[in-house]
Amino acid sequence: MPATPEPSRPSSPEPEQDNLFLPDFCGIRMVFLVVVIAELAAIVIALAPMETPLTERWAHLGLISLFVQWAALSSCALLCLLRRQLCRLRPWQAGIASYLLILLVIALVSEGAYWLVHYPGGMSALWHAKFVARNLLIGLIIAGPLLRYFYVQHQWRRQVRAESEARLQALQSRIRPHFLFNSMNTIVSLIQHNPQQAEEAVENLADLFRASLSDARQRVTLDDELALCRRYLQIEKLRLGERLDVHWQVDALPGDAQLPALLIQPLIENAIYHGIEPRTDGGTIEISGELVDNQLQITIDNPIPDNPARPHSRGNQLAHENIRDRLSAGFAGPTRLALDQMDHHYKVCLSFPYEPWHENSDR
């Protein structure tokens, strides 16, 4: 039962957004819910004593309801008004504060009820104390689990939200909307004047997305991965024209080396996105590799924009972390991802052990 946000309320226009675990007590749905819970509690209290005759119980229920509703709605109003203050506290502090708040309200209402109902005749001080203590105990027992319930529900909702966000991010990192839409635009432009190239671009795009959407743990040969990189670069070449130049020096690499799919392509994509695209006259990406002591070493070098003001993006770092994780998870031997920024160049060096491909080497 999510509390309905009330946009007209100026204090916190989006109650779902703040971090307090309590639902929005100013919302009409929540107030209704409080009334229902309070009434149920009142019925339980009225039903409990065995010796009272039925007719008296009805009268009792009326009195108890009045009392309980009074306490419940006052607590509700207070929690609504104090929400902003409670938001500033830590969750456990806010929990205790609201618990105490409710007990305080019950104590006050008990006092009020006592003076209202019993004042002229007067009951003994002992009865008075018992009355207040009993009410507090009931409040303690009902409010505690209720607050706990709100807390658990809030945690649960937060977890669901976090999970769906993570899933979306994972999906986006595979689909890469920027690249997808740019490629679509390229293809649309080609269809009329150069259908042949448009066809090739669609084929390349299909291969790339097939690879992106396949199981992330899948292993491929280096030859396959490099072929995919070339297909990717063909698409980018169409888009960037003469601004993009690529030099390959990978003959020394064993084509049958196995590696996790899409280990190299994202690095080339980064080189284009952060290196070539922002440069007015583009530049050359150098992809080179060698085999040293049974370790494959692949280097991707790209120029960076002249303007030093533009800081290195966080997205880029995230991509590198992802590759680093997959590297260390994908090989038993030593792996390395080294980043190096020189004057006007950015260099990424990837290193992993040579494991020749076997037909059934799924691990």
Partner: protein
């Protein structure tokens, strides 16, 4: 808009430009007066040909569409601007909330026609919010634009030596000369906090050009720059920060 309107196409990708060209060929009443591949070219071509509408790609090298729009609006008669983008969720959010014209690539002919018919100049409020958005994305503009006779002069920010506030204006001193702008020093300081340091109530100096300090006979402290012979006093209040910067520079140099 009346027939015969002039359009400038701005996109860094040749194929994207030719696509727009062919779309516009099929529409009557529109005449493409030029194609620009980056923001600087946009400014040059706009001043040369005075188009009525600019179809402006957001992501372009050198100077992007956002920044170009900001400079364009300083012209006496700025063109209407329609942004184009393949995918830029931050920009789109800003556009939507401020009713800025934009088209999503691949652009559809019908939408292009509608946008052109409805094209209006950006308002100051829209521009301000776009500029603010750019700041939040950590990409300060790369140029300072100054209104000069008959147009706008662009000064790359990394050529600026210092900003000096005098009366209503701020003097921008750069490697090849000086221009006056109206932007307050305070906003410049915020925008270019990484590149400039405040040395006096009325002066911001480019960190990259500072070489040292110099004291005169009366105990006043002046800043020394790698270029030119400028008399820029460092106020007592800002001296500690400047000293700190010099220390860090010399530490980095070692």
């Amino acid at each position: 808009m009346s027939p015969g309107m002039k359009i400038l196409i701005a996109d860094d990708e040749p194929l994207a430009r030719s696509r727009l060209q062919s779309l516009l060929e099929d529409l009557n009443d529109w005449q493409v007066i030029g194609e620009a591949a980056n923001g600087r070219q946009v400014l040059e071509l706009v001043q040369q040909h005075q188009p009525d509408v600019v179809l402006l790609d957001i992501r372009m090298p050198g100077m992007d569409g956002m920044e170009a729009a900001e400079h364009l609006n300083k012209l006496p008669n700025p063109p209407a601007i329609i942004f184009t983008t393949a995918y830029d969720q931050y920009a789109l959010q800003a556009f939507k909330s401020h009713a800025v014209d934009y088209l999503l690539k691949p652009i559809k002919q019908q939408q292009l026609e509608q946008a052109l018919q409805a094209a209006t100049q950006l308002t100051r409020a829209q521009l301000q919010s776009l500029a603010q958005m750019q700041q939040e994305q950590d990409t300060p503009p790369l140029h300072i634009s100054a209104r000069v006779q008959g147009g706008v002069r662009l000064v790359p920010i990394n050529e600026v030596l210092y900003f000096l506030a005098e009366h209503k204006y701020v003097t921008v001193c750069y490697q090849d000369g000086e221009v006056l702008i109206e932007e307050p020093l305070k906003s410049l300081e915020q925008k270019f906090a990484d590149q400039f340091i405040r040395i006096h109530r009325n002066a911001l100096v480019a960190r990259q050009f500072i070489t040292g300090l110099r004291k005169d006979n009366e105990g006043r402290v002046f800043i020394q720059l790698r270029q030119g012979d400028h008399q820029l006093e460092v106020s007592r209040r800002h001296l500690p920060q400047v000293r700190e910067l010099l220390r860090s520079l010399s530490a980095a140099g070692d």
